[in-house]
């Protein structure tokens, strides 16, 4: 068994036993938050890390998924129908998002996604007859798949863990697939990819759709976790926060967005209880990461580990560059 597999087995064991060793329900809930925000970060990572497209509007897609669940449940439909309708609607909105925003790349893409995200936020805020405006929408109950009620923190955590693991597998398979390689090719050399016979626009479009799917899955978990959704979830700060998760953890890697999500959620939910100006600390952490590990926390730690190991063995330290996206995790 290789070291990687042992680490993976230990991580899975730790995740599977969280409710048994976490000191209290509050922390189990924090773990649920880490997991569903990690799914969101994995979704953003498809665009930021693999496609080289920074979106500032994904909180809009996340919010659409949440709102659709809340609206459909409020209309008297069951949870299963609400989840399916939410996924379908979010994918349709994502397709519209992609068609409009992929007319540009770089700053242009960023600005269009920002504008589209703000439109969705504006709709959530102002379409009061549908969204209840700033007061938001409540959901009275959580789903009970196969008769298992997700009302307790532990039950909800396990449901979130299952979906998280599914998302991680999806993201890993995607990153190592021919399509993942094609997507990274369009990030690095779109002109060359076009000359090689690739349909650059469609590759980016499908990547947006996959990213939207993960965002929707995360949004659905978010609304069921809080049993409430308000326009705040669609705000620009939400999109920026998830991008910070991806960049601080290491964009283009599998583990990076998960670590980034854990960092942000822990700072927001745990450190904020002890440090009044926790935002300042979070900012300082990001600045430190950007200065000392510009490739992100996970690839940075791997690099430092290798350098330290080489120094211990008396070998000359080799300055390794940021690893190939999708190549590890």
């Amino acid at each position: 068994m290789t070291g990687k597999r042992i680490a993976l087995a230990l991580a899975l064991l730790a995740l599977a036993t969280v409710p048994y060793w976490m000191p209290g329900t509050y922390y189990v809930n924090v773990m649920s938050q880490i997991l569903f925000f990690a799914i969101f970060a994995l979704g953003i990572n498809v665009l930021v890390g693999h496609a080289g497209l920074v979106s500032l509007g994904h909180a809009g897609l996340f919010g659409v998924a949440s709102y659709v669940v809340a609206i459909v449940v409020a209309a008297g439909w069951g949870h299963a129908a609400a989840i399916v309708i939410s996924l379908v609607v979010t994918m349709i909105v994502t397709a519209g998002f992609a068609v409009l925003s992929l007319r540009a790349i770089g700053i242009g893409f960023l600005m269009i996604t920002l504008a589209l995200g703000q439109i969705l936020w504006g709709l959530a805020y102002r379409w009061i007859s549908l969204t209840n405006g700033d007061n938001g929408l409540n959901i009275a109950t959580r789903p009970a798949p196969f008769g298992i009620a997700l009302t307790s923190a532990s039950a909800f955590y396990y449901a979130t863990l299952l979906i998280f693991l599914l998302s991680v597998v999806m993201a890993a398979v995607f990153a190592n697939s021919p399509f993942g390689a094609s997507l990274r090719g369009t990030r690095d050399q779109p002109r060359r990819m076009n000359a090689l016979g690739y349909h650059v626009f469609m590759i980016r479009f499908y990547a947006c759709m996959f990213s939207g799917l993960l965002s929707a899955m995360s949004g659905i978990l978010f609304v069921y976790y809080n049993q409430f959704i308000s326009p705040q979830a669609l705000a620009l700060t939400s999109s920026a926060e998830v991008i910070l998760m991806v960049i601080s953890g290491g964009s283009g890697t599998l583990l990076g967005p998960i670590v980034g999500a854990a960092l942000v959620v822990i700072m927001k939910n745990v450190a904020s209880a002890y440090i009044v100006r926790w935002n300042l600390v979070l900012g300082a952490i990001f600045v430190t990461i950007v200065i000392f590990m510009p490739e992100g926390l996970v690839p940075g730690v791997v690099r430092l580990w290798k350098a330290g190991w080489a120094a211990l063995r008396g070998q000359p330290a080799v300055r390794t560059s940021a690893p190939s996206p999708g190549a590890h995790g």
Binding site: V173, S177, P178, R192, N194
Partner: protein, 246 residues
């Protein structure tokens, strides 16, 4: 008679600047054609028009008698057109092997697959390895591209183009920036390309290019001013006036 590439009255302007003016070009199947001309003559623009990266204002382009003037650039690759770039355009984060595999993947329906592992596509690995053997890089196939020399990268570019098994290969200054030894290696490599591949090449290095070319087209300010065999073009006073010098 079938032509591999036929360009008819092709025109392209950028604002008020006419960069391709009524260019006509007929390249026979299997031919080795050299395009020469001073800097700014419109050689690379002509390549970009032929590959579809630029849309012509007027005129037509035929590939093996098929009108491809309005065919999307990516589809021209599927029709058997491959090119290399004057400025090396590769994937520095990948290995040499994966660069060539990406070229092969571009023509395979597998490129849309989000499920199968890319590195375990053994038929792609084999074809890519064969292409690298052709250019003499098989022994460093797993080396990251960022750790290769300029000359090796030039050969990777050619390997990527050859891996696609093209019918028409467009080479944009393949000898640019190479040392004498590297130039000799690339020259040998190009001479070994079989005749079922038609080659059109832009090159400034006349020593190596003249040995390769069967027919030469001289461009000047976007116009074809001389065309013919090596001797005809080299001996033409216009060639000496605008390009070779007295």
């Amino acid at each position: 008679m079938t032509t591999a590439l036929s360009v008819n009255a092709l025109c392209k302007s950028f604002g008020g600047l006419r960069v391709t003016a009524e260019v006509n070009l007929n390249v026979a199947p299997g031919e080795r054609r050299l395009i020469i001309g001073p800097n700014g003559a419109g050689k690379t623009t002509l390549f970009n028009l032929i590959t579809g990266e630029l849309t012509p204002d007027s005129g037509s382009i035929h590939l093996f008698d098929r009108d491809i003037t309005r065919v999307a650039s990516r589809k021209r690759a599927h029709l058997g057109m491959a090119r290399t770039y004057q400025i090396i355009t590769l994937f520095p984060q990948d290995t040499i092997l994966r660069n060539v595999m990406l070229a092969l993947l571009g023509l395979s329906p597998l490129r849309w697959s989000p499920l199968k592992p890319f590195d375990r596509q053994h038929h792609l690995v084999e074809l890519a390895s064969a292409a690298l053997t052709r250019v003499g890089l098989d022994h460093i196939a797993h080396r990251p591209l960022s750790q290769t020399s300029y000359g090796e990268r030039r050969r990777v570019e050619i390997a990527m183009a050859l891996a696609q098994n093209p019918k028409l290969l467009l080479l944009d200054e393949p000898f640019a920036g190479l040392s004498i030894d590297e130039r000799r290696d690339v020259q040998k490599l190009l001479l070994a390309i079989p005749r079922d591949v038609t080659i059109v090449m832009i090159e400034h290095n006349m020593d190596v290019a003249l040995e390769f070319a069967e027919k030469i087209t001289l461009l000047h300010f976007g116009e074809v001013i001389v065309e013919g065999t090596r001797t005809e073009v080299v001996d033409n006073p216009r060639t000496r006036e605008v390009y070779l010098g007295e």
